[in-house]
């Protein structure tokens, strides 16, 4: 573990007006094992540094020693809250590199389940963000909705969290018998629940005073840092991989991208809530238009992409999650590099936090929606 140097002007605590404080890896509000080192002047943050790596598991190195079809279960453990989209980026990279045609029914089912996964991830974001700011009841309500989605995942994939949802070429199993009924029921119940969360939070003066003007990042700054996902769209930049480079069945879906104005925490909160509504709209359309047919393509005996490199990214719930794959023609990849959205979003933390109070740091970490599994891999 390296020593993080933050220069202080004087030696002892009592002399200097600045205090170095450690929000250590074990902390209820840092959403995983993140260590944030704060330099404070009283209660204002002057400087901030993040120390990561507590969850490093060597996923990219492991991937160099496994066959292509065996890597997908590991990818679930990256952004473990939204495992389905991680699996999707891996599988689509390999498929596109090999030029495999995936049947349309698989594309549509992938769209439905990935959007359900997006809603699940945003629900957990809402739950933990509200918990950090103090509205504890919203945590339990959002987790109840997420439970419904996880039940659908369990019935479809066999696991709730780390699903191993996709296979190269499609899906292992077709939709289970009650799939339409369950998803339709969820889609019908969901807007009412979102309205409930908005009733408690959106107009609440305490919520507004904790989130308006906190953690502001402007559009140009966001692009310079490389933010993506709701953090970028909250600052008003219109970039969504589902629209710019459509994958799966998104080219056929009709949905809108919510954009914020000021780039503060409240805007990102509203953007994510609206994204949940748009996701519901996508699921609705995809369920209607679901074509029949097979759900997996014919694969060669050993999956071997041609020699070369390929980068593919999708719009995960946290941002643009990408996979850069270098293949040397053998059954195991030469190098796999994940573009983790949370890692890049975390770079903005310093700029967002400096000048705010300590209690706001927790709110800002929450609004960036980071997952340490992705940051540390």
């Amino acid at each position: 573990m390296h020593q993080v140097e933050i220069a202080t002007t004087q030696e002892t605590l009592l002399d200097s007006p600045e205090m170095v404080l450690n929000m250590g890896p074990q902390h209820p509000s840092t959403h995983g094992v993140l260590r944030v080192i704060l330099k404070l002047d009283g209660e204002t943050v002057i400087d901030l540094d993040c120390d990561i790596g507590y969850l490093h598991r060597g996923m990219e190195k492991i991937a160099e020693n496994r066959m292509y079809t065996m890597i997908a279960p590991y990818w679930d453990r990256l952004d473990y809250i939204a495992a389905v989209s991680n699996g999707l980026v891996w599988v689509e990279t390999v498929e596109q590199m090999m030029g495999l045609p995936v049947p349309p029914r698989a594309h549509y089912l992938r769209t439905i389940l990935t959007e359900l996964n997006r809603i699940a991830s945003h629900l957990l974001w809402l739950a933990t963000h509200a918990l950090d700011i103090g509205a504890i009841t919203v945590l339990l309500w959002a987790l109840r909705e997420r439970e419904e989605i996880l039940k659908i995942f369990e019935r479809q994939f066999g696991a709730r969290l780390t699903c191993h949802a996709w296979r190269v070429g499609g899906m292992p199993n077709d939709a289970y018998d009650d799939f339409h009924k369950d998803v339709r029921q969820f889609v019908n119940n969901f807007p009412k629940r979102l309205d409930e969360y908005e009733t408690v939070l959106s107009e609440n003066r305490i919520w507004l005073s904790r989130t308006v003007g906190i953690g502001v990042i402007s559009g140009p700054d966001a692009i310079a840092i490389g933010l993506s996902g709701p953090a970028l769209r909250g600052s008003g930049v219109a970039w969504d991989v589902r629209k710019s480079r459509p994958y799966a069945a998104y080219a056929d879906m009709d949905f809108d991208i919510p954009l914020g104005e000021n780039g503060d925490t409240y805007d990102r909160y509203l953007v994510r809530l609206e994204e949940m509504r748009q996701s519901r709209r996508i699921i609705d359309q995809a369920l209607e238009k679901l074509p029949d047919g097979p759900v997996n393509a014919k694969l060669p005996r050993i999956v071997k992409p041609p020699v070369g490199d390929y980068y593919h990214s999708i719009e995960g719930p946290k941002g643009e999650i990408g996979c850069y794959l270098v293949s040397d023609g053998t059954a195991q990849p030469w190098r796999v590099r994940v573009r983790p959205p949370s890692f890049i979003n975390l770079q903005a933390l310093r700029q967002m936090c400096v000048g705010h109070l300590v209690a706001d740091v927790v709110a800002i970490i929450g609004t960036l929606d980071i997952v340490l599994g992705e940051i540390d891999r």
Partner: protein
């Protein structure tokens, strides 16, 4: 704190702010949930209680659930369906499976032949990620992941299952109160 541009409030909005309508709406919703928890039966769409009182109530596990592994046997002859092809061990990303085969002599059409049968099957559930690649690889549907999720043991060695445990399953204590 940077100022954000906000529109000028109308008179109705000012009155609402004075009477703290935003707070009262939130409080009203919580009160409805409180009363609903006592009266409403619908927990998915309504305001009823969502808790499943496990272990009093056994949970509803999906048929496709990736749970504890099991080696299936032929229902009539009670022989194992495993043909010791080793495909599951090859498919496993974590190298949890060890298939030990042995050769036996059988007579086929009068001539003695050597057939490979299963001797011992070691499955290390502590390394397993429950990804179900082994279940997909098995050609005879012998290796299957069941709905059993209560896999805790008192020792590390208890996680390594042998053929007998895989075929017969484990005794799980069912709590009824």
């Amino acid at each position: 704190m940077p100022l954000v541009k906000t529109p000028k409030p109308t008179f109705a909005q000012k009155l609402k702010r004075f009477f703290m309508i935003d707070l009262i709406k939130g409080l009203g919703l919580t009160l409805k949930f409180n009363l609903g928890a006592l009266t409403d039966k619908d927990s998915v769409a309504g305001k009823g209680i969502y808790t499943e009182q496990y272990p009093k109530v056994r949970p509803d596990v999906a048929p496709r659930f990736h749970g504890a592994p099991r080696l299936n046997m032929d229902p009539e002859t009670h022989d194992t369906l495993c043909i010791a092809c080793n495909l599951c061990a090859i498919a496993c990303p974590e190298d949890c499976i060890d298939v030990i085969a042995m050769d036996v002599e059988i007579i086929v059409a009068g001539k003695p032949r050597r057939k490979k049968v299963l001797d011992e099957f070691i499955f290390d559930t502590s390394r397993c990620m429950f990804c179900a690649l082994c279940q997909e690889a098995c050609p005879t549907s012998c290796l299957e992941l069941t709905q059993d999720f209560e896999l805790a043991t008192y020792s590390r060695a208890g996680f390594v299952w042998n053929r007998e445990m895989l075929e017969q399953g484990r005794e799980t204590v069912k709590y009824t109160s």
